[in-house]
């Protein structure tokens, strides 16, 4: 497993091994969505800019 490594997490709370692992798994699933959403936002903003520019000119 890539998560199993040196450098133990020593937190004030016990983060729980399973909780950390599943967080990485879910993070990988939903983290992509964050990127896609951000890129889509940039893209639609760019399109909007072009459209408004064409309209005004």
């Amino acid at each position: 497993m890539t998560f199993m490594h040196h450098d133990l997490i020593l937190a004030y709370l016990d983060p729980g091994s399973g909780s950390l692992i599943i967080q990485a798994v879910i993070g990988a699933l939903v983290g992509g969505a964050v990127v896609v959403r951000a890129k889509f936002g940039q893209l639609s903003a760019a399109v909007r800019r072009i459209v408004t520019r064409t309209k005004t000119s």
């Binding site: 998560f3 450098d7 909780s19 939903v30 983290g31 992509g32 969505a33 964050v34």
Partner: protein
């Protein structure tokens, strides 16, 4: 070195705890947390942002020499007038507290911080709104690091909210038994199968519970395998999951369940006017409305400029009132779920960590409308004991007397023997007089009922 009187709930971290001096809470920040805290309170930093947004309890810094010379910082937070606990909050209040936690985590991570814990005990309702009260919960963190409080968030917020929403809102009381969070294996056993079809509940509860079991006790590495996007994705996913939860279905199912009164319209208006008039001339700021249902009278009393705590044992009614006021921007009432037959006990470590409800009552006036017959006849509590409790809670009591021939009392007696010969107004008044209190009785027009005003002997 002077010894500080630590708050009994504040034992988990030696470097950041609450102590009490002259009845006021202060927070000690030790050397271990000093550098994170210093970054947190930087001008125009995270603390400023959160206080300005109304998310964090405002605070001042006190020179440590005056109180705790070995502290790096001493914080004097704005006082919280009435402490309440997650197991007393209606569903939507716990949901708002969860969303507040996520918003704070989102804002913190944008500035290179993380919450090092995510418990509803870090939140209090001040003027009806949730605010974060733990100023030492913030640490600087690598943006790709996993969130150490993720497990706690799922156990203390997501699991109880999902159970209340998908099973029954009355299970909000589980939060008192599982004071440090509902174990996820238990949560997933209680949840119905349809919870598997919600991505958020499936991932954060079902899959999470499975992973906990599978990797139990194995040390895990801290590896920045993640990225800031992954963390943002987790927080956004938790937020969407919590936003999707509600107890609306239960509201509909219980729609006919209200403590309906036998009042004519005229009597209801007379009762409202009487309550307004009586509470209006009684002294003090704090009014506790016991058996408040959804808090219609509490709102009326709040409109007189009083601060009100509204308590009822029906979590659906309390939630309905909470939502109505929140959506109207009315923040003068603190709505709590509580049962006078079994008020919140003192729980947690040494029975001192979370205090009993009766010890938190700061009422100048206690109001108990349409309640006495439920206690005396519905639950067999002698009138003398009711009088004693009411007088113990506040120097002024406004209590509605509902006589035996009232249809609501008759309804309670319909299915049982009437063993309540002592259920008479004179018995009740006599009980107050025995305690040295002075009473006056005000009949409610167009009804058999009356309002008793009790002033406790000083």
């Amino acid at each position: 070195m002077t010894t500080l009187t630590r708050h009994p709930a504040s034992f988990r971290d030696d470097a950041g705890f609450v102590f009490v001096r002259d009845g006021r809470p202060y927070r000690f920040v030790g050397q271990r947390l000093a550098s994170d805290f210093n970054a947190f309170i930087a001008p125009n930093g995270l603390a400023d942002e959160l206080v300005r947004a109304g998310l964090l309890l405002p605070f001042e810094l006190i020179p440590p020499e005056t109180m705790a010379p070995d502290a790096a910082f001493v914080i004097a937070p704005e006082p919280v007038p009435v402490i309440s606990y997650p197991y007393e909050w209606p569903f939507s209040a716990l949901r708002d507290a969860a969303l507040l936690t996520l918003e704070i985590e989102e804002r913190a991570s944008r500035r290179g911080f993380r919450l090092r814990d995510a418990t509803p005990f870090n939140i209090q309702f001040v003027h009806g709104r949730p605010v974060f009260i733990d100023h030492t919960s913030f640490e600087r963190a690598d943006p790709g690091q996993p969130w150490v409080a993720y497990r706690q968030f799922c156990e203390q917020f997501l699991a109880p909210l999902a159970i209340s929403s998908l099973v029954d809102p009355r299970l909000g009381s589980m939060n008192a038994t599982f004071i440090n969070g509902i174990p996820l294996d238990l949560a997933v056993r209680l949840l119905p199968r349809r919870s598997l079809f919600s991505f958020g509940l499936f991932a954060h509860l079902h899959l999470h519970a499975w992973a906990q079991r599978k990797y139990e006790g194995r040390p895990t590495a801290k590896r920045a395998t993640g990225s800031a996007n992954q963390h943002a994705g987790i927080i956004a996913s938790l937020r969407r999951t919590i936003e999707s939860l509600s107890i609306n279905g239960h509201h509909t199912r219980w729609a006919n369940y209200t403590r309906t009164t036998s009042y004519t319209e005229r009597a209801a208006a007379a009762k409202a006017a009487l309550v307004e008039q009586i509470v209006g001339y009684l002294p003090g700021t704090w009014v506790w409305d016991l058996g408040a249902n959804d808090g219609v009278y509490s709102e009326m009393i709040a409109a007189l400029g009083r601060s009100v705590v509204a308590i009822d044992s029906d979590p659906i009614a309390v939630d309905r009132g909470y939502l109505r006021r929140r959506d109207n921007g009315d923040y003068r009432v603190l709505a709590l779920v509580g049962d006078l037959m079994n008020p919140t006990p003192a729980i947690g470590w040494a029975n001192e960590e979370r205090s009993a409800l009766v010890d938190r009552v700061n009422a100048d006036v206690v109001v108990a409308l349409a309640l006495v017959h439920h206690l005396a006849i519905g639950s067999n509590v002698p009138l003398a004991m009711i009088a004693e409790l009411l007088c113990r809670l506040a120097p002024n009591v406004v209590v509605e007397w509902v006589p035996k021939d009232d249809p609501m009392v008759q309804r309670l007696l319909a299915t049982r023997d009437d063993i309540f010969d002592a259920y008479r107004l004179e018995t009740f008044l006599d009980a107050f007089h025995q305690l040295g209190a002075v009473t006056s009785v005000h009949p409610i027009e167009d009804s058999q009922r009356s309002m008793i005003v009790v002033r406790r002997h000083k």
